[in-house]
Symmetry: C2
Subunit: 434 residues, 2 copies
């Protein structure tokens, strides 16, 4: 049976991983499909100096992406360049030329996913984007097919491997943030400017896409409350442990009576949960369905080969669709038009909270703080204090029963002006409902 022909645009990390898998695993792919996937054209800025695996045979090489998307033999274009400007041109040009498209581009799909899908459906071509979020975890296949009969009630992800590596190292070895950040930078997990990771921007753009797919609602970054991990210290892990919890940077999307609550923030989660077992630079997604209850998915969030597997699996899926003549018909972004999932402010959420203070010790502190909590109708649950040598910078923790984010913010604001307070209290939600 004749092969299906692929053009690859972009030979960076993911592009090279994709080519390597197509070359090495070509025989098994052909057995699974019933025909071969053939790479007929590749484009990159330095394509002449790049090694094309010998198993792929004769491949047209170019530095001009238009030559791939207009190549008469190419049936599927894999857009692996990243970014949103040229990538969008490539994808749109491919669709105009009636090529199917596989993309690994998180930013592009988060920003323009619904629009690109509508265009693809209109043109009658197929589009796939497994690699665009959580590279090694087949979360798109799960949401689109595996549990498509369910209705997602909540989705909690650990979507930034760098932060998870830093937090689990801090937990294990009690090294402060600056130390684990330096290590992560040495290992190549963190950039010289770590803000995209540790302030939550990267995780937030992943959540935009995942939540849109899970809840079928247009999500924008501004719908998502974002707080990074800069204020988390080894001490917080000690207190969390006393409470049988740990701390992770959680990307959450949760249906409530008022609407969809969305956040990226450090939160306490019970150590007994499967999400708490995610160590190191792994990613994970926990999904709570109305009917199927909870399911959980775990793997590498990035990397040339894990992401390459996602691209190759998408190429196989699209090849099957091309062969069976079945174009895309329904966008994965728009299944929930029932008006239940409009994003609402985090201020509406109800949670138990962990409040960590650093104070100059003196009599009456607890009374003062308890008074503020009472004035906001917040019920104090427990007061915890680890042994400490100093009276000048005394840490302790108060946990409070379920209350609104609004009330906690008001209380924290009022508390931060107290003269014994060395820094604004740190408030973290306790996500015990996992």
């Amino acid at each position: 049976m004749e092969e299906v022909n692929v053009g690859i645009v972009g030979l960076g990390n993911v592009g090279s991983g994709t080519l390597a898998i197509l070359a090495e695993n070509g025989d098994q792919i052909a057995l699974k499909l019933g025909y071969r996937l053939k790479v007929v054209a590749v484009c990159s800025r330095s394509v002449c100096s790049k090694e094309i695996p010998a198993e792929l045979g004769d491949v047209f090489k170019t530095t001009e992406w238009r030559e791939v998307v207009t190549h008469p033999d190419v049936q599927i274009v894999a857009e692996l360049v990243g970014g949103t400007s040229v990538a969008k041109e490539i994808v749109n040009a491919a669709i105009e030329n009636r090529k199917s498209v596989v993309t690994a581009n998180k930013e592009l799909m988060a920003d323009c996913g619904p629009e690109i899908w509508d265009r693809a459906i209109h043109a009658g071509i197929n589009l796939a984007m497994e690699a665009s979020v959580c590279g090694g975890i087949p979360i798109h296949a799960v949401l689109r097919e595996g549990i498509s009969g369910d209705r997602v009630m909540a989705l909690y992800g650990i979507l930034n491997g760098t932060c998870n590596y830093m937090l689990t190292e801090m937990e294990k070895r009690e090294v402060p943030l600056a130390g684990v950040l330096a290590e992560a930078q040495m290992l190549g997990y963190a950039e010289a400017d770590p803000s995209a990771d540790i302030d939550g921007f990267d995780a937030r753009s992943k959540l935009v896409l995942l939540a849109a797919l899970a809840f079928g609602e247009k999500i924008t970054p501004s719908d998502i409350f974002m707080e990074g991990i800069r204020r988390i210290s080894p001490l917080d892990f000690q207190y969390a442990r006393q409470l049988k919890h740990t701390i992770r940077l959680i990307c959450g999307a949760r249906k409530t009576a008022s609407g969809l609550i969305l956040f990226v923030r450090p939160a306490l989660i019970p150590t007994s949960t499967i999400l708490a077992g995610v160590q190191g630079a792994y990613n994970a997604v926990w999904v709570k369905g109305k009917y199927g209850e909870d399911t959980f998915y775990y793997g590498w969030g990035a990397g040339a080969r894990p992401t390459g597997v996602a691209v190759v699996s998408d190429l196989m899926r699209v090849a099957r669709e091309i062969r069976s003549g079945s174009p895309e018909r329904v966008s994965p972004f728009a299944h929930e038009r029932l008006g239940e999932n409009k994003p609402v402010s985090i201020l509406l959420q109800k949670r138990a909270y962990y409040l960590r203070f650093r104070v100059d010790d003196r009599p009456g502190i607890i009374a003062k703080l308890a008074g503020i909590l009472a004035s906001k109708k917040i019920s104090l649950e427990a007061v915890l204090q680890e042994p400490c040598d100093t009276k000048h910078d005394l840490p302790f923790v108060i946990t409070v029963e379920e209350t609104s984010e609004q009330s906690i913010r008001e209380a924290v604001e009022e508390m931060s002006h107290l003269d014994f307070m060395r820094e604004a209290p740190l408030a973290l939600p306790m996500e015990t409902a996992l």
Copy 2:
């Protein structure tokens, strides 16, 4: 747009769950598909006394399954009766009548999967079986689509929720097997005759199917080494903890240089692994891919609604295929014809092992055991002993470095004849490569 019409055969646990989801979640399903799934016919032995949800409207009810598979309006038959005799007739009759088929039947697909798939492909109809193994975990979608570009090197599952519940309770509360079994029976997790669960039969039939799909090789129960959990005691968890491991009933399939090693047996796994975090009656599957490294999937293994989600998701998938006119073309059972994955004997496997003894204490015991190990060229790694009052029934543990299952069996056989040995030594592999 017109609906796709479904006939349901079997209204037990899974059938009722499926109907409930189709009724309650019908609007969202229609948004995801672009048309409705309509239940037009149901069959069960006591269909007249069963409640059909009002949202489903007018449904033809019968006690005769042939009336569903020959019903002119039915496009997809969901076979939810279980077992292998009538179920096989139903599936075959549906295929003959050119109906697509969704099945939740583990035994049937494990026994006759390849044959039924070939028949379905020949007839040009579609077949789906997400619910047949690990009900709530979309493992078929993952293997068929999500990571189809990868080559599976190993698959480790916790596939029997009853055993996992019993083992984790034994671990937490130090209750012996008889006690946790009685509790599991009270909770309805275990049958009056618990053999299918605790001796490994249920887990083995699941592994037959999963391994066939992951490795594309025909697997039969006799290819799989099976050992149940009857000999595991709270003491073993204490020793395992000293070794930073826990014990789970592991369903394993692993590529080796000699071929595919398959087993269902209690094994030690490191507590730091994500698989060790699977508590209670959950199921989980850990997959090691050649390119994508490890991914992990977790959820309820059974239950009316989790399994119902799998059935409904399959109905949606098949409906999409019917609408796009794309019949099945390649069986998911036969992608690996490269001759790499022939099942081979467990005796060939190399692992570190945990050996637990119960002896009448006297001088020279360790010397004697160490002598036997040395004679088989097995290197002793550690000797562990928990504090103990008695000399008559003294437990202790020896761990040994990587050796073959063959050598360990010979050593254990020789050791069991020693006069101080109160019972045959318990040998468990240490699955540290997770």
